[in-house]
């Protein structure tokens, strides 16, 4: 059984974002690039499943759509424990473009389980996983917070309003993963870092795909009003403000 984890590279989540070119482009100066948090959790869970022989998971591959500058991020995934990497050599123009490239990867290599993070922390489109599944004409399960595999059959826990459902779908499928899938992201150990150097990263050229959307500009949130402090000895005053001034309780 082969598992594919789709990886996006995003600015470190503590980044104070800035823009250049008249607010049209992200200012990448000084940005630390990391594995998108949900993708990192997906990878961790995939490796946990591979660690257990009863699951039948034989290999974990990571795929990324991006230029060669993203190789350190792919290498990091290999250091954490992925067996091999695939990079589609193109800038991820938008969600559909990215999904279409990943669909080609899957069609060429045949994976049984495909994991995608529920969104990337930069574009927040929540789209690549679902688009990929539709392009592959296979089932997708969204808001996945748990995944177990026994003898090649996956059991999936998905979040619904006010609870969760335990569901199954036939392979191959796309699981669109959120928090809860793994406890803590797995960290690369020294041995893993050494081994990653010799693991293969296959580079594929992109297929021709139409770009549907384009960011025409960014805005930063407007600074809020200064905080009004209330005496710690008089919390009643706070409640009165919330009731009578803000009128929210």
């Amino acid at each position: 059984m082969k598992v594919l984890v789709c990886i996006s590279q995003v600015p470190d989540t503590t980044t104070k974002v800035k823009f250049t070119d008249g607010f049209k482009k992200l200012d990448t100066t000084g940005i630390q690039w990391i594995i998108n948090p949900w993708d990192e959790l997906s990878l961790t869970r995939a490796l946990e499943l591979k660690d257990d022989p009863a699951t039948g998971v034989k290999s974990v591959t990571v795929a990324h759509v991006g230029l060669s500058s993203a190789e350190p991020t792919i290498r990091k995934c290999l250091a954490i424990g992925a067996d091999d990497g695939i990079r589609v050599n193109a800038e991820a123009a938008d969600a559909f473009y990215t999904a279409a490239q990943l669909a080609e990867v899957v069609k060429n290599e045949q994976f049984d389980v495909i994991l995608c993070g529920i969104e990337s922390s930069d574009h927040n489109e929540s789209a690549v996983g679902g688009m990929l599944a539709e392009l592959l004409d296979c089932p997708s399960v969204s808001a996945v917070s748990g995944l177990t595999i026994a003898g090649g059959q996956a059991t999936i826990s998905r979040e619904i309003d006010g609870g969760r459902e335990i569901v199954t779908v036939p392979n191959p499928f796309v699981a669109i993963v959120q928090k809860g899938i793994a406890k803590e992201p797995r960290i690369a150990a020294m041995r893993g870092i050494m081994m990653a150097r010799s693991k293969p990263i296959k580079v594929l050229e992109p297929v021709n795909v139409e770009v549907y959307t384009e960011v025409s500009g960014f805005e930063l949130p407007k600074p809020g009003v200064a905080c009004r402090f209330i005496d710690a000895e008089d919390p009643k005053q706070l409640i009165s403000i919330l009731q009578n001034e803000a009128k929210v309780i």
Partner: protein, 322 residues
């Protein structure tokens, strides 16, 4: 040309977010000089469907049929896409909730449509079609141009005011032919907490962080939430420690919420936390460190020990409620 909006139902009922969605859709339709058609799938009473007309829908397609009880993204996508084509919809709007996020990208592929997810305002322009959406997890907003003939939008929850109209919608029943073999998802078990106010639906949220010091100190926080009719939430360290369930984790990698009032108790307000709550209308912070970043996001604050202040807040709320 028309606007089609998919309204999910919960055991045959709609929620405030459904009405927000229809209000939003009818405003978009007005910008485009067209009308709004609502699509509802599954069994919903007529009186419930009628409510949607009051928020600007001119037609409601009441899709009923077998095989619609299990939520299967692939099958639901097929049904909604087919109806969108038949209706000649140029804009399809869904909620940016769990099911909307599951369906919108699949529908986008089927309709060869570009998608704008998590929009929180009306489109900036119709031609070209530019939407205003969350980016960098709430640390910025993007103007996204959608170039395709058909556009898919998902609306962030609690981001749009209800706009009531004195109007009625025409309800059309439609038999949905969905072959059972299309539904690949099998539900083995449902685990539901009943009686709890949902975090993503709540108007008021009371949230605790590491400043609560111990999971044993949550009693007064839950009591405060109950008194205010609020949902409870927590910061990431709290859910990582297992003090509270991860479904309460609010922030960049947890739930993104936009209540009218967010009360942050013992939460310092790291960038990642603020990313999940910054769209709240009012933020109240209680923290012992006056320089904590949460006070930069908050309108009202108390500097002090969260555990000591909480019971006093509970008493103050009891007083006004009595």
């Amino acid at each position: 040309m028309s606007v089609l909006v998919f309204t999910e139902n919960w055991d045959g009922k709609f929620k405030k977010s459904s009405f927000e969605l229809v209000s939003y859709a009818s405003q978009v339709a007005a910008m485009m000089n067209t009308t709004t058609t609502v699509l509802s799938l599954g069994k919903v009473e007529k009186s419930e469907l009628d409510k949607l007309g009051g928020f600007g829908a001119s037609r409601i397609i009441n899709g009923v049929g077998d095989n619609l009880t299990v939520f299967d993204s692939q099958a639901f996508c097929r049904v909604i896409s087919d109806i969108a084509v038949k209706e000649g919809a140029t804009v399809v709007i869904l909620s940016n909730n769990n099911s909307g996020k599951a369906l919108a990208p699949r529908i986008a592929v089927r309709l060869k449509a570009g998608i704008g997810a998590g929009v929180s305002k009306l489109p900036i322009s119709i031609s070209p079609f530019v939407v205003y959406k969350r980016a960098f997890s709430g640390n910025a907003f993007a103007h996204l141009t959608i170039r395709t003939d058909i556009k898919i939008i998902t609306l962030a929850q609690n981001s749009f005011e209800l706009i009531e109209k004195n109007a009625e919608a025409i309800i059309e029943d439609m038999a949905i032919q969905l072959d059972g073999s299309m539904v690949k998802t099998q539900v083995k078990e449902v685990q539901k907490q009943s009686g709890k106010i949902l975090l993503t639906d709540a108007d008021i949220v009371v949230s605790g962080g590491r400043g609560m010091k111990s999971p044993d100190n949550w009693g007064p926080l839950v009591e405060l939430a109950d008194l205010l009719g609020a949902a409870t939430a927590c910061s990431r360290p709290v859910s990582d420690e297992g003090w509270r369930g991860h479904e309460e984790h609010t922030g960049q990698t947890g739930k993104i919420i936009a209540p009218n009032l967010y009360i942050a108790i013992g939460i310092s307000g790291a960038t990642q936390h603020l990313a999940g709550v910054s769209s709240s209308k009012y933020i109240v912070a209680i923290n012992n460190d006056k320089s904590a970043p949460i006070f930069e996001a908050a309108q009202f604050g108390i500097v002090g020990d969260a555990v000591k202040i909480l019971p006093k807040l509970v008493d103050a709320v009891k007083e006004i409620k009595s």
